[in-house]
Symmetry: C2
Subunit: 205 residues, 2 copies
Amino acid sequence: MPSIKLTYFNGPGRAELIRLIFAQGGVDFTDERIEGKDWPELKSSGRFPFQQIPILEVDGHVYVQSTAIARAAARFSGLAGKTSLEQALADEIVDFLQADLQEKIIKFLFGEKDEDKKAELKKKFVEEEAPKGLGFLQKRLEQAGGEYFTGSLTYADIGFYRFVKFTENILNGEEMATQFPKLAALYDRVANLPNIKKYAEEHKS
Amino acid sequence: MPSIKLTYFNGPGRAELIRLIFAQGGVDFTDERIEGKDWPELKSSGRFPFQQIPILEVDGHVYVQSTAIARAAARFSGLAGKTSLEQALADEIVDFLQADLQEKIIKFLFGEKDEDKKAELKKKFVEEEAPKGLGFLQKRLEQAGGEYFTGSLTYADIGFYRFVKFTENILNGEEMATQFPKLAALYDRVANLPNIKKYAEEHKS
């Protein structure tokens, strides 16, 4: 196996999906975590091609951009999808979760200073955007047989598990489980994979 | 070859990179273009899994999310990258162009109603964000030998060509070419690929 090192802040953020993919795939990697206070200096050190983290270093090559890294990690872990069609379906789910759901949360949670505006955007997300998006996802899951988004386990299912964890302070889990029982079952299915379970026990953050 | 149909509005937007990838790959596809006025009704017809376009239909399977489709199109066209490393590098460039540059433009161009705020965001993009991002891209290109982002032609190079076209009313091409001569040469290299040239002549929009 190649020598693999992931570098990110000491928190889940944009690296957690990558860590979970490696954990599920049983791929050994160095989980380098840097402190926020050290970032401004490190940023300009020349080690980070786009002055961004996460980065993934594999045998001297540096991979950048969290979703591109997650996909590369999925290939290393056998979780990218077995066929071109499965790959496209998995990519679609991950991109949808990121661009259409998570980025909206990041926008109101971290991007909006005005408290009233923040509350308004949050309400819109919780009451309209999230249920609509989850409805689409549940339909996609059903179309693939109901067990995993592409029929068999890929990084898309782990991405969904991560999405639920990410939103646990924003969306009401019980309500979601009632409204979207097949997605709730998918979450449980992923959470109970032995490697994911072990990772969750070791990383309570 | 499978039967391929791409559906989007009658304009470049989020479908143009996909069209260019197919054009370069010499892949035949139906370029279905719908009128904006017909979209609200079509949207709820059940044909569009996330009520979004573009969609790509391949032998009855429906692919969604423009970047996931572009990557699938790149695989069909032999332009996704030959190795896992090349794929990750190409994905990184395309994701960076999208998330860190194009989305910023979309935000001020279409998302900002206040004219002063719009002008301010545009100024910041033109004077700070774009030169910084282009600097990163030029360095990435140099690291790969200077000809193409991954060493050989992939959808990332076509993505860059598309980015330049997309920004031609926002960024000053001459200035960019002086500041980033290797990126300017890459643009010319892609623009002069016979299939891309033919496509550009046939689609003046």
